[in-house]
Structure formats: C-alpha cells, structure tokens
Symmetry: D2
Subunit: 292 residues, 4 copies
Amino acid sequence: MRLGFIGLGAMGRPMAVNLLRANYPVKVWARNQTVVQALVEEGAESVASARELADVDVLFSMLSDDTAVRDLLLDGGILAGMRRESIHVNMATVSLRFARELASAHAERGIGYVAAPVLGRTDVAAAGKLNILAAGADDAIGRVQPLLDILGQRTWHFGTLPERANAVKIAANFSIACALEAMGESFALVRAQGIDAANFLDLLVNTLFAGAPVYKGYGAMIAQQRFEPAGFKLPLGLKDVQLAMQAAEEAHLPLPFASILRDNLLDAIAQGDAELDWSAVAKVAARRGGLT
Amino acid sequence: MRLGFIGLGAMGRPMAVNLLRANYPVKVWARNQTVVQALVEEGAESVASARELADVDVLFSMLSDDTAVRDLLLDGGILAGMRRESIHVNMATVSLRFARELASAHAERGIGYVAAPVLGRTDVAAAGKLNILAAGADDAIGRVQPLLDILGQRTWHFGTLPERANAVKIAANFSIACALEAMGESFALVRAQGIDAANFLDLLVNTLFAGAPVYKGYGAMIAQQRFEPAGFKLPLGLKDVQLAMQAAEEAHLPLPFASILRDNLLDAIAQGDAELDWSAVAKVAARRGGLT
Amino acid sequence: MRLGFIGLGAMGRPMAVNLLRANYPVKVWARNQTVVQALVEEGAESVASARELADVDVLFSMLSDDTAVRDLLLDGGILAGMRRESIHVNMATVSLRFARELASAHAERGIGYVAAPVLGRTDVAAAGKLNILAAGADDAIGRVQPLLDILGQRTWHFGTLPERANAVKIAANFSIACALEAMGESFALVRAQGIDAANFLDLLVNTLFAGAPVYKGYGAMIAQQRFEPAGFKLPLGLKDVQLAMQAAEEAHLPLPFASILRDNLLDAIAQGDAELDWSAVAKVAARRGGLT
Amino acid sequence: MRLGFIGLGAMGRPMAVNLLRANYPVKVWARNQTVVQALVEEGAESVASARELADVDVLFSMLSDDTAVRDLLLDGGILAGMRRESIHVNMATVSLRFARELASAHAERGIGYVAAPVLGRTDVAAAGKLNILAAGADDAIGRVQPLLDILGQRTWHFGTLPERANAVKIAANFSIACALEAMGESFALVRAQGIDAANFLDLLVNTLFAGAPVYKGYGAMIAQQRFEPAGFKLPLGLKDVQLAMQAAEEAHLPLPFASILRDNLLDAIAQGDAELDWSAVAKVAARRGGLT
C-alpha cells in the first residue's frame, strides 16, 4: 500500500514519521525543502510536485484550512490525478460547507474519501496517540483503519457522511473554547476577591472537573497567566469559533457562547495578543474587570 | 462537644445523621416535625425553638439562602444567644455581601465563624464524601476540622476571611453553569447536523473532558434530554448565577457568560421549565435553533 | 393648596422654584441649608424636620433612589404623618418592586399616591418643560394635574396602577441606554474604516434618526468623545439598566441588550470612568477594538 | 450622456424610471422581460445581453449583494467591456472586502467608480428622495452628481475611497437593526407589566426619539406586531448584520449588539419567520419572555 502525505506542518510531520516507521512507503511534498529532507532521512520519497502525490493508494492531508485544501487538492490538481478506488484521508479542520463540497468532488471521481480530523497536539501526534474522528464510506474507512491505528490511540466513528466528522471536530473545539472563557471569567471572579486562581483551579481539577485534560492543561496556563509558547494561537481559535458559528448558521442555530467568544477573541487580538495561545482569551475577562 | 444543626433539608438531614452516627450529641430544630422525629430516632435531641440551638459548642447551619440565614440566625435570635467562643459553621451558599455582614456580626459577639459551603449532592452528603470549602480563623477551623472530616472527604482551605469560601463556592457553581450551557450549545450544534448527541458526549467524556463529573453527569442528562427528577432546580441555578453576577459587580467585573446564562435561565423558566433540573437550560439552545 | 417638596437636588430645586413662582406655598426641607436658603429666598417655607413636610395637601418628592425614598418617606415617618386625602407625588425613578410596596403603603393609610417620574434634564426642569409619566388613581391625578402642568410641558398617563409609570420610566431609560451602545458600536465601526464619526452622525441625525433628541444630544458627545461634564454619571446609568433587568426578571423576560449594557457599564467603571457621563459607555466599544 | 442601468428590482426600477423621465437615454437589461418591457414603455432601450450595457457613459447598478455584482460586472464581462473614462455607479450594499476589490478592478481598467448605496425604501426611490451615500474620486462624483440629484434628495459625501460609502451604509443599517432590537426588548418589558406597547411608543416618538423615522415606522410595526408585508425580509437583515460583523472583524472590533442581533435573527428564522419583515426580530424578545 503506497501512501502519500501532504501538509507537513507541526502536526503532519510526526504523523508521516509514524507511518514511515511502520514501514509504509510514503511520498511527500512540501514547499519547505528542510521539512522534506528530514522526512527523506526517515525513509520518505520526495516527489517534485504536489500533483505527483496523486499516484498513491492512500493520500493523507493535514492542511491548515479550507483555502490550503482547495489550493492543493482541487485547484492544484492532485484530486484530478488520483485513481478511482484510491482514498484520500483528509485530517484538516475544514468548514462544513467545504466538507460537503469535498465529499461531492471525491464521489464524482470515484475516489474514496475519509474525513478524519483529530484531537491532540504535536506531542500526542508524535506518540501516535491522537483521537481520530472519522466519517466516510464504511469500506473506505475499513481500508485505512490500520493506518489510522498507527496515527492514533482510538478512532471514533461518526457515520458515512464525511462532513459529520468535521462537525464533531468543530463542536469539540468549540467546547474547549467555552471552557477557556469559563475559566477566564471564574478565575477573574475569585481573583477579584483576593483568592489565588491556582487554589481555585486546584479545587476544580480535583472535584467538578477532575481529570479533564482541558481544565488541567489550559487551567494551569490561565491560572499562571502564561500564554507562551502558544500551542494554538489566538487567530486560529477565532477561526475555529467562526467555523462553529458558520455551521450553526446553516441550521439557523444561535450560539450565544460562541458570539461572546468571537467578540472576546477579537478584543484580545485588538489588544496585541495575536501571538499568544488562544487560552489568552482569559486575559480579556481580567482586563475588562480592571485586574492586571 | 455539643453540636446543633439547623437547615434540615435534603442536604442537611444526612449530614446531621453522619454527625450523630459519629456519636456526637446533636440538637436539632425544624418546622417540619416529621424531619425532626426521624433525626430524634437517630439520637438527636429536639429543642422547642430555634433559639435553643444557641446553647451548643458548635452550630451547623445548612440553610437555603441569605433570607433563611438572616431570618433564623440574625433576626431569629440564635446568634444573639450563642456564647463567646462557641462556633457557627455556615454551610449555606450565600451572597458575598451577606457573607461579610455575617462575619462582622459574629466577630462583634466574639463567636467563632467558619464559612463552609460544600460541593456535592444529597447522595454525596449521605456518604460523608462532600468537598468542603472552608474559610475562617485558623483556630476556629482547627476546632471544627474533626467534624468536617465526618461530613466530607476533604476540606479545602481558602484563608481566614470567611467570605472567600463563599466566593469560591459561587465561582464553582458558575463553572458548572458554564459547562451546562456549553454542552447545550455544542450538543445542539451536532444534533443540527444529524449527529447523535450521545455519541458526541461519549467522545468528550473520554477525551477532552475525560473523568470530569460535571460533563459526565450533566452530559448524560442533556444528551438524553432527561431533566427530571431535578437534582437542582432551574430557579436555584438562576439564583446562583445571580450570586456570581453580584459578586462580580462589586468588583466592576463583567461576566458575559453569566449574562448569557441569566438570560437563558429566565427564558427556560418563562417557557414553563421551572420544575426541571437546571441542566434543562440546554433546552433553550435547542429550541432557539428549532430543534425539538 | 399647600405643597411640600423633598429631594432638592439638581432636578428638584428648579421644580420647586417653578411651583413657588406659580404662587403656591411650598414647604421645603433638606440637609443642605444652602439649598434651603436659596428656596426660602424664592418664597419657600423652611421646616425644621423632614417629618413636618407631612402637613401639606400635596407632597412632591424627587429623591435619588429606593433607599432615599424608603429612608425619608417610610422609615423617616413622613408618610405616617400625612393626612388621609392628602397626596404624595413621587417623581423618583424607583424599582418596580418598591413601587408596588409604596402604592400599598399609601393605600393602607388612605393617602393619595401618584407616581410621576419625568423625562428631561436640569435645564428642561428649569424651563417647566419636563415630560411627566404619571400613573395613579384618576381623582388623585386630577387634583395634582394643575401642578404637573407647571412642572412639565405634557403629562403622559399610564393608568391607575402607579408602578406602571415607573415601568415606563425604566423602559424609557433603557431605550436611551440602547441608543448609547448602538452609537458606540456603530461609531467605532466607521472610525475603524477611517471615517469621521461626526460625519456619520450628521447622516444619522438628518435621515434615519432625524430630530431624535437622544441621537442628537448624546451622539454629539460620543462623536466628539466629550463625556464631561456628566449630565448623568455612569453608575447611575448602571443602576437604571439594573432596574430594567430586575423588572424584566420578575416577568422571566431575558433582555440581552441590557445584559450587554450592564457588562459594558461595569467595564467602563472598572477602567476608571465612573465620573463620566453614561454616554462614555461608548468608550468601551472603541477601546475593545483598539481604537484610541 | 448615455446611461445604463442593471439591477431592476423593486428599488432599481423606479430609479431607472426617474432617469428616463429626466430625459436621459437609458439602456437596460434584465432576465425578467416583463420588467424590461415596462421600462421600454418609459423610453428605455433594451439590450440583448448584459455585456452590451458596457457601451454607455455611466452605468448604474443596483444589485442585491456581492455575488450578483461579481457575477454580472466581473465574471459576466460588463466591466471588461467598459471604456476608459466611463463611470460605474454601484448602489448595492456590498461587503467591505468586495468593495475594495471592486475599487481596484475599476482602477486597473481606468474606469471611474463611485460607490453610492442609498437609504430609503421603494416609495422613496420612486419619489426621487433617496439619501445617497457617495464615495469615489472627486471628478467621477462630480460628473455623476446631476444624475444622483435626480435619484435622491441629497448626496452625502464620504471621501475618495469608495469602500467608505459602503462602510457607512453598513453602519447605518446596523444602527437600524439595533433600534429594532431595542424596541423589541423595551416593548416586551412594558407589555410584561400590562402596559400597551402603543402607548409606550407614543411616548418615545414624541419625546426621546421624536421625529426619528426608524422609531416611528418600525415602532408602529413592532407595537402592533404587524410584520407583513415585509419591506425588508429577515434574512436580508441577517445578511446586513453579518456585513457589519465582517467589516468590524477586519479591524478586530467586537460588536456585542451585532452578536445579539445575529443570534436573534437566526432564532427568528429558525421559528419560521423568514418571510416577515426584519422588524419581526422583536418577536424573539417577546417569545423568550413567554409573551404571546
């Protein structure tokens, strides 16, 4: 089974490495030759153009957004070059509208299509411990499942309509964003009473939210007001909240927490915090209350 | 050490029972004689009037709100009858403003005062596994700690100013409320895409929010849209969100998530859901999006 | 017809003067003797204590809030001293809850009660051009109408339940507050595009909102970012928005614009703008967008 | 001076008629031949394809949105066919981003470009009494000013950058939307107290908002809960609020009132009110409070 991988950023690189280490042949392409060279040293085959990635059995893509996927896969001609029966596993977080367009584009060409966005950051990707949210035709998923098992600790199935995996990913990220703002506000509330946010967090992560990685990880960042290095920058968080708002809008669904988040993320960026981790949205609640 | 207990509702009763079973003498009083009688059968001493509860070493109160505490403790004369050096352990969720007034009222009379609101519902109280949020003078807390150890699995200390324990309790309940709304919105988002909310919840409680009792317990209620029997009714949730808003207001702190919650809880009550569990705030997000 | 007037602040003083200049005998009382003396020079009779104001046919009060009315009228004994058939015209902006309590307290004593809050600032009061929002028993209003005609250009009648006049006043002030925030946001929006807010305002007040005093008056303040001298300070604006929220809460009515206003007014106060006019809430929108 | 007119909807038709009645030769094109025929009877020249409209001195377009403008002017080839020195007067409400793209596209081709969105509905257009918000190069505006004077009662100038006229239009519509929601909430507030909304409106439009067409016109619709026939349907209102949010987003400007409006407009559409006038957003406030 010959593989291809495009989208060799901080997430994609360790994922491609894991496939190589499992002894799969992997073709790669990237604009950045340093990145390509590092993968070649792990055993990857470098191809001269993105289009050449079409000549594989399974193509993985881990691109940043709708635009990148459109540019490379659709406009860039990769999809047009793929054989019927080959499969594209799209791990990007894309909008629902584009997710549906992609599903149609693959179906028209008889190319298998699996939407498989993931939960987990770089270190989790490197450890092959991602949670993979998958949707698509059963046979397509079945054929790539051994590969997904290399990349992740568990694959969660959300049916045969690929866009549903994207909807779940969008809703999951929105859930994280809500927890960030909830912590931002409640930590500001206790700080305003002279209480150390770390003590309050200690209570939360040992009682109400015991064990929850989101509260534990982001909670420490917010309690300590340490928003660098950024695991996921504020503007990316804004993008994801907007994906939730767009998905909801199609269904005429108001999402008032998302509206607050959007406004607060814009506020944070306007104050110059675009380079910080998106948990820095918590600074907005504190600043608006005059807390330093 | 002679104890008294007032506020023998669903939470207070099992707590008083636990103190009795640890062989402490406990005086009790309640308007409802059935409740009193049940405790007398556990070994409690029934007193003829609330004022007679003043004649103890440590008085516990587990009343519903500011008004109940004011009526019984201040206006009802219990505090006036307590001896210097005796201690009042107030486990109610009260407003910050009233919390400070109570602290002063005790200090003026030389009565020890420990604010000790709790996390946990009736079953947790019965099991003696509450999490107790305590604040007050070190010696007062020290003297009642063996009693708190009977009632709870752990006591969290928040310093010597009693109102801080109330602030933490208010912020903790606000954190729960935020999670309820976050789930209400994100579940509506996935449902609008044809995805079963239970499948999405299954993902959340095994990944991002793994282990968190709030997500697990309330999440199941929201996913199944089963809001009865009510563990904590909607109007009580509204009251607690308002306590957060009042506490924040003193510090001139905007809490936009709290504002959304207040509006949505009012909406839910206006639609006739006042008897449901406060997690039924999730119905608002669904209904506003036309989901049934 | 012998009159009394209490609440001789910036609004009450010129109103009392207008009654005096219409040749009515007016008893006055205030803590501030300079204020009293100025009115005595206009012909008022100074009484030694607030209680002595009870001995009149019609008592006007123009006090600042619930607390001031309660302290003087109820707890201070004025109402207790008034004769049956005498009338109290309460021009304060009070909460609905207290408005109802006042109506009952007067009814129990057989004292006529007219709620008559006003629209208009100091200069309008001085010119006798206030708009008076009146509610109460028809005969009581009928008897004081000639007096109201001295104070205002027009009396608007809202039925026989006095609290309805207060509800209308609260809703009217809330309408103003909404216009302030709407201008704050829309002016920030055009400023962010390099457009002079004054030019945009010029359009609004000559087209969509032509003639509207609220847009014209406050619009100029916001466009010029000139929030001093304060006609109505920010914390008073916050109080009035909260009166709207409380009135709505009784009816389980969410008011999302009010929630935004409350949060933004708190934000403004937290940034140190409590001494500015409440139109300075517009600074919040600009600051959050990074506009200086 | 030979004119062209495209976008012959409810607004465009009477505008084209006014130009014809002022004895200008006007070429027209539309998919709907009934519309074209009616204008031919007024003296217009019908052309066989949209592209043929390029052969004029001044082309007016009054299209519905970005997409319609893009399809006809850019992709449809009209712009490509226009002569250097000819002028395009674009009266559509378009997004800021697209407004800038259009300005560039015209500049590259040496075609004059005036952005001239309008305030006013169909009847105002028919009366030649629109308020025209114009921006563009001085000489271009100067040349078309006599034509604008036929269409409108007044032209408001917002400088030489065409997109600024669009920004003003977007902000103006946002101001209207804010007034709709403000009325929706304040009317619900008085109705909940048993007060007739019409009486409250009567006060507003004779005092605080005296003369303002927005309050007077929409206020009557909201007070009477009469939202048909729709002058401007809910989904169009949603589109315009989103244009404001997009424009603000570029500048990282939170617009919390816009967020509320977006959520409430979605709510209204989800409840089945998409065919009603956008003032029906006021139904949301009433329904959420349980008012029928």
